[in-house]
């Protein structure tokens, strides 16, 4: 049992991440979006923590810098929301505007909502992974806090 679970989970990691990415990209058209994508990616990493342990999981850059990643995500989100004001639009104006034509490559529509959703994904991923990481770090007894 122990012998084949870690490789299997490592094997599962990449497909999960790809599914997460597709959830993100397809969010505008069908079920999905940044939030489930981030949660799914977080779950994939969580699996690594459970099976391979913290040190193994932290091989990935994205895991080590999960918390800053969430910050970057928030910057993306806030930026998408408020950058249009520089050009004189109302906040939360997404491009292309309702009266502008869509720009699309095949089934994929390019829309600033994608950046927005990407930010969402990073934030959720960052939260999940950071909490897991901190919990994993704390597991294994520590001294008690004391004092009044």
């Amino acid at each position: 049992m122990i012998s084949f679970v870690p490789p299997l989970s490592r094997l599962l990691l990449w497909p999960s991440l790809i599914i997460a990415l597709s959830l993100w990209m397809k969010g505008g058209a069908s079920v999905g979006g940044g939030f489930p994508a981030g949660a799914l990616a977080g779950l994939a990493v969580l699996l690594q923590y459970v099976t391979a342990g913290r040190d193994q999981a932290r091989r990935f850059v994205a895991v080590r810098y999960a918390a800053p990643l969430a910050g970057v995500g928030l910057l993306l989100v806030v930026g998408t929301a408020f950058l249009p004001v520089v050009a004189g639009y109302a906040p939360m104006s997404l491009f292309p505007r309702p009266d502008q034509p869509e720009i699309g490559v095949g089934g994929l529509h390019l829309h600033t909502a994608l950046i927005f959703e990407g930010g969402l994904m990073l934030i959720v991923f960052g939260l999940v992974v950071t909490v897991i990481d901190r919990f994993a770090l704390r597991t294994g007894g520590e001294e008690e806090e004391s004092g009044p």
């Binding site: 969010g27 999905g32 960052g126 939260l127 950071t130 897991i132």
Partner: protein, 759 residues
Amino acid sequence: MPILLPILLALACAPLAYVAGRWRTGAAAWMGALGSLAALGALAWEWTLGPGRLVLPWAPSWGLSLEFTRDGLSGLYSAMALGVGALVVLYSRAYMPHHLHEEGRPARDEVRFQGLILAFMAAMVLLVTVDDLLLLFVALDLTTIISYLLIGFDREDPESRAAALLSLVLTGATSVVFFAGAMTLGLHYGTFSLPLVIERAAHDPASTGALVCLAVGALGKSAQVPFHFWLPRAMAAPTPVSSYLHSAAMVAAGVFLLQRLYPLFAPATGVRDGLLAIGFVSMGMGSLMALVADPFKRVLAYSTIAQYGYALVLVALGSEGAPLYVAIHAPCKAALFLTAGAVTQVTGKKKLSEVGGLRHSLPVLAGASAVAAAGLSALPLTAGFFKDEVFFHALAQRGPAFMAAGLVGAGLTLAYTLRLWWGLFGGPRRDVPAAPRLLVAPVAVLAGTILLGGVLPGLLVAPARAAAAAMRGEPSTLELAYHLDARAENLLAVGAWVLGALLFATRRAWTPALSRVLEGTSRFGPERGYRLLLHLLDRLSTWLHEKEVRDLRDRVASVMVPTGLLGLAVLGVTPLRDRFKVGTVGWADVTLVMALAFASAAALATLRAKGHLRLVLLISCVGFSLAMVFAFAAAPDVALTSVLVETTFTLLFAGLLALLPPDRLQHAQEEAQKPRGRDRLAAGVAGASAFLLSWSALSHLQADRVGARTVELAKAAHSPNVVAAVLTDFRGLDTVGEMTVVVAALLGVTSLLRLKGRR
């Protein structure tokens, strides 16, 4: 504009003195005295300009303006406050270093003290000059605040702290009552401007309630029965404070208010009769207490209560001598207080029984204070004679009973004044070191003023008439002169002297009995009532605090149960109670209902779950069932998200359980499931309310919701998935906010579970 000059000069005194004090400690007092004398000079110059008013814009929203007046009343009281203030500040230059040394405080604190005295002086000048009900209250509370700081100046001394607090609370409380009265009047007459209020009150007399409120404020300040007991306690303050606040300034403020507002009180005979009674009671009580008190400052404090009782009687009778009475009393009392302070500094004693025979060592002080004492007890050739003359004059018009009361009162005054002076200076000779000159000079100056007023009474007539005219709103015909005939005033005065002398001569016979009687009655006095009330409130407070909710559970229940009950009540009493719709359940709904049932069953099972792991699994079971519900409710986005969230959450919970020490978990588990009856009840109330409130809300669904518009607009937003369009576009701001919440939570988590070490 010249009206402002004395006020501005008075206001500038404290900062100037402070600055001077920074340069050299001793300079502060001289600077302050100089400033107040300048203000006094400005006042005198202004006096020559005749009456006037000044209105400056202040708060137009409330129709308020800064209104100042220059009339007899403000002139007389300002002169009193400034003159005595200057002398007291100088006196404190000699007094405070010694006092501070005894208290073990740095000599620099003297500057702070003098600054406070001068600030008080400014507040007092402001109080007597303003001509607006709200401003009157503002200035009144300014004096309260500064007096708190002054009385509690010796902050190491618990007694003086307690005295300061008592005076703050008592004068603060009564002045709030005053404010309520002022507000009532202001609202009733539509203005706070005093001349307008008085003018309108002429046709439409003020309500008794409002007048009583105003009177309470004045009585509290002037230390009249039943609010008198803060004054003797306040004697814990340094002597310059007592001699200023409790002779010429703070206590005068109360009677001043009544004089300023006299036109309002004039038609209300009932209120005036009440004030009259209070005046007589204060007079009698104060005089009797002054006859037996031992610490000499206390004698003076009780005497102040009694003397302001006289002033109150005069105001209540509407006598034109009322302002004059206060103005003459002030220098006499201030001089005696200053004498008391000087004696304490020289001898280190504070009680009459411990001193005596000082007339040889302190001849100037003894002489000057003898003049002040003579003034206080209204002997001829001092200004004091005229204060009793106007008093007797007013009483004589009311009838023999009043005359008798006045005679007894004046007799008692002479008796306790003699007792005080004799107790300090009379008796067998005792030698003490000489007093510093600056300690004696202010007393001498005050004594000189009193003599001057007594010898040349004509000087007093003009200010007294002006003040009386300002008080009563009609020209005054007050006459001050010595008449060597058998008119009632003279007879009463002679009678009072005889009575006083007799009482003084026979003092050993009645003092012990009187003190026993007074001690007995003090058990039922208002002070006792105040303490009892406070004690009861304290006990109530502690009892409530002990009973108060402390448990987290009760804190939660205290939110949930009232909300639940309120919700039930709302549904119970309004027409909403008849409007519940059961709704239909078709075949298509079966899966949904089953999923809901599953979620409910899992939720119920969590209550019975023993182990933590089982609990967590059941919680996630609830979550997954709900995700199923959402899926069946055609909300796949929500369903997907909630599946993922539930999964993550279950794992996080499991991670938490792994973090917690197993023995602690075990222990907590054993203890946990002992629910109290009221917990069940609370949950029941909350659940029932949640059920009925949601049912009511679901029964009132609005068919035409914004949701429909978003569906129409989704195409314009280039997003086939309407939910995504709402999330990222239409209500994108919500999503940005929500993501910021996530990041804030993340920050919280990272700071709670830090990577390296603790703290």
